[in-house]
């Protein structure tokens, strides 16, 4: 159990004579017992950061501190971290029991104590019936459980998980995700998970660090990053189906009303009150609204957008409606029992308090 502090962390390496700055001045703290996700597209530096914490990668500059001790120069085995990586790497000739016991043996723990610890962890991960089996006889999900059991049996100060669920198929991935979340509430060790799957990060983590091109974009709770994305990258990366993002230009009507027009289309709608004073006529903005924050309304209300349905999908739990705007689609999701055909007229209302506006130059939230 320990706090993890990352200070001004940098990583550069040379690949084909080209210098790559993989992690750029990263600062963040994981509180004792917190579950943190490093989230970003492949190549963003999230795994490199995890490997620096584990001691598998050298640190170019900056500091990593675990439980008050700077670990930069400590050997991986001395850092008190538990590792569970994407590829299982269980010892094939050893039974599940022996695989889990391996690290405890290395520490010269007495045999009865090892048995007690292994049995306890096995029960927690629901793998007790598998203990005498060899890894080759296990399914992907079972292997991953053993892998996690092996990482936590040593009671590490920090548990590091690198894409532990990405090899599993859909159903198994979902149930393992639920189990992993439950497991964390039981063991309460500071945990870091690396993932490229935003729903995994949202579901599991207390806080999410969203990383792109080596730079931390935002660090916050799932609700914070979903409801108040710091920039357009975060807005587009978090949420499924993804946020609708369009370039709009502001103008003032003869009546004095401030309006947005979606570029290259005749679609216009009123600028929400909250942004009215900050929006300049003739200037482009990036406008964002989540599919769940668009309501279907009767035509009489103000601020509505009148258009026609391009595509209607019924997906059982929800319906999705898509409107073609230039080469893009405006999508909305509703749990209501609705039915539309292509070409049907529809009136939409963007929930004013759920509109996101970003600077069209630097992408930052306005």
């Amino acid at each position: 159990m320990a706090e993890l502090v990352i200070r001004n962390l940098n990583k550069t390496y040379t690949k084909q004579k080209e210098s790559i700055h993989a992690v750029k001045s990263l600062n963040l703290t994981a509180k004792d017992g917190e579950f943190i996700a490093f989230l970003g597209p492949s190549g963003c530096g999230k795994s490199t950061t995890l490997r620096m914490i584990a001691g598998l990668e050298t640190i170019t500059s900056g500091e990593i501190e675990i439980g008050g001790t700077v670990v930069n120069r400590l050997h991986p085995s001395k850092r008190n971290v538990g590792l569970a990586f994407e590829n299982y790497a269980l010892y094939p000739p050893l039974t599940v029991y022996e695989n889990i016991a391996f690290n405890l043996r290395a520490r010269n723990m007495p045999e009865p104590e090892i048995k007690r610890e292994v049995d306890k962890i096995a029960e927690l991960l629901q793998i007790t019936p598998l203990l005498q089996m060899k890894p080759s006889a296990l399914s992907g999900g079972q292997k991953q459980r053993v892998n996690i059991a092996r990482a936590i049996v040593r009671k590490p100060a920090v548990l590091l998980l690198d894409e532990p669920l990405s090899h599993l198929d859909g159903k198994m991935r979902q149930s393992m995700r639920t189990e992993l979340k439950r497991l964390h509430t039981e063991i309460r060790s500071t945990s870091i998970i690396v993932t490229h799957d935003q729903s995994e990060a949202m579901a599991l983590a207390d806080r999410i660090a969203i990383i792109n091109e080596g730079v931390l974009q935002q660090y916050g709770t799932p609700l914070e990053v979903y409801n108040h994305p710091a920039n357009e990258f975060v807005a587009g990366f978090i949420g499924e189906p993804p946020m609708n993002l369009f370039t709009v230009t502001a103008f003032t009507e003869k009546t004095g009303r401030k309006m947005f027009r979606i570029d290259g289309s005749p679609i216009e709608f009123a600028v929400p009150d909250a942004y009215r004073d900050r929006v300049i006529d003739g200037k482009p903005y990036r406008f964002g609204i989540r599919p769940g924050d668009i309501h279907i309304v009767a035509g009489s209300e103000p601020h509505t957008l009148r258009t026609r349905v391009t595509i209607f999908e019924n997906l059982g739990e929800e319906c999705r409606i898509h409107i073609r705007i230039n080469d893009a689609l405006l999508s909305l999701v509703t749990g209501e029992n609705v039915f539309f055909q292509p070409g049907d007229p529809i009136c939409l209302l963007f929930r004013e308090d759920r509109i996101h506006l970003f600077d069209s130059q630097n992408g930052n939230r306005i």
Binding site: E179, G239, N314
Partner: protein, 378 residues
Amino acid sequence: MADIALKQVTKKYKQHTALNGVSIDIKDKEFFVIFGPAGAGKTTLLNVIAGIAVPEEGVVTMNGKVVNSIEPEDRNVAMVFENYALYPHMSVFDNIASPLRSPRYRQPESKIKEEVHRVAKILRIDWLLQRLPSELSNGQRQRVSLGRALVRSPEVFLMDEPLTHLDAKLRHQMRAEFKEMQANLNTTTIYVTHDYLEALSLGDRIAVLNEGRIEQIGTPDDIYYRPATEFVAEAFGEPEINLLTAGIVRKGGEWYLNLLGDSDHFTVPRQVKSVIEELQLETVRVGFRPKDIKYSFTDDSASMLRAAVYSFEPLGSKAILTAHAGGQLIRLIAPADLEARPDRPIYLKFNVDEAIFFDERTRRFIARAGEKGGRFVG
């Protein structure tokens, strides 16, 4: 113009039976989805229709004629694969034109130009004709790949997981794009997928395949609201349907379900009762979709079942709440900002009127109380 029928088709690869007595009738111009998990036999089924795989038993007919011994190139079917396989050094125009320039389908250049433009218009890529594949987005590349299949005016399209390799976000958009295009195809299409959202969204009808056998053939409405087996019920919907075993308890004239230890509050719906009576069942399996379970943190109704929060997974617009009750995990949908810390007591209300009932021994559909359905019509 083509309707396709398979009658009792069996296909084996050495010891492995890939298709086992499969019968399907596909109507002219139908968009027919073949759905199943990896290894179910989906691609084999497609290959049998294409003529790439020859079945050991059964017949395949097209427009009423048996085609078992007809070569793939003589079947007038067009395959669209997961990878686009465009010629990188050729423009979009030349990629689409390539089948019409092959020795087999050769056409005069004036006719080719006409056809390429016709197809490009349908797919809304007529403004991209001079570009190279490397200058296109994934969605555009896929349309070009479709265009190349479309230009031959095949009688049947065979599509093998064309959207699978896209990430979740792109898939949402591409599925919609695809559906928009589909309206203009006007050609019998057989579409293979393991993604239930694609199946529900795109299919006129869906065949659910499992270990080489058909579990069910039906409209999206049938599949979602009246799944023939527990396998089908579990495959459609995320989070997956909650399936509970319940004994039938008779008290006077009323019948109750013994659900998670409570046998006082879940009346067997009238329509279901008659079926259970007829089949003389003592135990049933009851399926509740996550959205058909309501919850409260206070015990405000006698028909609520006490449980505890097991895990809470927020997903932005909603959350998956897993509750622990009577030794079982129950998944339901909750708002993402709910204060649902682990082990907090929670009370569940099951909507029996939306439940789907299965035979406990055969795991096959027996009844459903709700008249609901029809949501998929159209």
